[in-house]
Assembly symmetry: C2
């Protein structure tokens, strides 16, 4: 008889294990970049941001990211990594810090993968008042949305898709016409988002959620690779348990670059995170 | 007979003189924060970003900001300042750098005012293709818009307003109902933007333009002070000569913070810059 397995929870899940950091000394952490969060054979940028964000939260006096920016410098690889953090300012309600993630090359030289600048606070000390005028995205019920398992060969995009096995991503059919050669031309993607092992969202998994959907450029008919130059996320409230709704849009694809704006809404209809990234358009050869 | 004065131009203007940096050594610049760019008695955040942005452009192999983020740590004061830059990565088409602006206190100790992380490129080497789906803001003709000189006592907001004398800012009347006690409640501000001495826009003045309009919170009826925690600007094209149109909006004022999204459109109808800032809501006492 199979033994009952405790469901995954915040602190005990694939996401927590794969974003774990181990303090080696003041401002220095060890980590292992998992191969489980790759897309297009690249380690997902939101996963990297969450991992570095965890280290910063452990180093700074405040533990929740309020505004966090990453510049992606070189391609990360699954395997050992080192994070070095700097406390820039320790304030009363906000602290600011910087972090770098490096990996070592075959000669043992450190190669910087990303540089992060962020301000942290306490999401449990927020003023309760809400005057949000934005409205949640309209999505079909999750049963009518489509995921990687619905794709012809189980693959949504070319290359390694390991991240799709870690996520419960159910895309609005209106935004994935590109999968059958009929992009809508609007540059929008919407999805229900969760973690495959059932772990509830938290501020760090929001950093993953904003970068986990297929590129909006697909919906413009551009099937190339869109490496992220910079990603900035605002975390505005601790997310309630349950599924998230993520809406991503691009409005300024021009001159070889595009911006992508993402909104993350929790089950209590709060706009819990907003992000913008600048990505480069790399056309298929 | 008055001698003809050469009109201000890029490189020879109030803005250029007040954002000038002087290299003291590798990665170290001196500057003077002008009192001419204050609002609410504070040195304007966009002006500070432009000044630090100029130093980074002189230090990095690439001279144009593509994505630049600042975290504002302590209040800057008019007077001497020092900028220290770090080259993080010198790439082929993009370079990434970090910078800090410090001022010295009465005891001679350095106090950090802002920390900046940015990626730079060459705006003259961009792919010409444009697929922008966003549309320029609709503004009344400039003659029907209102500026500081139209306000009852020449003051748009309380405190020092020196920056309003440096700008040609003409606001859409539909977005300044707050000035007569009738905020629209939409959280939007739109304006024609130029520099008072007639200098044309350039990538650095775009960093000023995104933070130069009255707070969108005024349009929500909140007349408090909104200090910027973090500001991220994407510069997407060198602006054409002539007036800019700036549209700012907030959609997520909640829990004591708000985001403000700004778009800057040039006279050629290009979306030349986009920004988002996270600001704190400080209610009037």
């Amino acid at each position: 008889m199979a033994q009952a397995i405790a469901p995954a929870s915040i602190g005990n899940s694939e996401f927590d294990r794969d974003t774990a950091v181990s303090r080696r000394g003041p401002g220095v952490f060890d980590a292992t970049l998992s191969e489980g969060w790759t897309i297009f054979d690249a380690v997902n940028g939101g996963y990297l941001l969450a991992l570095v964000g965890r280290a910063l939260g452990e180093e700074l006096p405040h533990s929740d990211p309020f505004s966090i920016t990453a510049h992606y410098l070189t391609a990360s690889r699954p395997g050992p990594a080192e994070i070095r953090t700097e406390t820039i300012r320790a304030g009363r309600t906000l602290s600011t810090g910087q972090a770098t993630l490096v990996q070592y090359d075959a000669q043992g030289a450190p190669v910087e993968r990303l540089r992060v600048l962020a301000s942290y606070g306490d999401l449990d000390a927020l003023d309760p008042e809400v005057r949000t005028s934005a409205k949640p995205p309209v999505l079909p019920p999750v049963e009518q949305c489509l995921g990687a398992s619905d794709a012809p060969d189980g693959k949504v995009v070319p290359g390694s898709n390991a991240i799709t096995e870690r996520l419960l991503l159910k895309l609005d059919p209106a935004t994935i016409g590109w999968a059958v050669g009929q992009p809508s031309g609007k540059g929008e993607t919407r999805a229900w988002f969760g973690l495959a092992d059932g772990r509830d969202p938290d501020p760090l998994s929001l950093l993953l959620a904003v970068d986990a959907l297929p590129p909006t450029a697909f919906d413009l008919g551009l099937m190339g690779w869109m490496p992220t130059v910079e990603l900035t996320v605002h975390v505005r409230h601790r997310p309630a348990p349950g599924p998230l709704r993520v809406a991503v849009a691009t409005r300024n694809l021009a001159h070889g670059f595009l911006e992508e704006d993402a909104e993350v809404w929790d089950s209590a209809d709060r706009l819990v995170a907003q992000s913008r990234q600048l990505a480069r358009v790399v056309q298929p050869g």
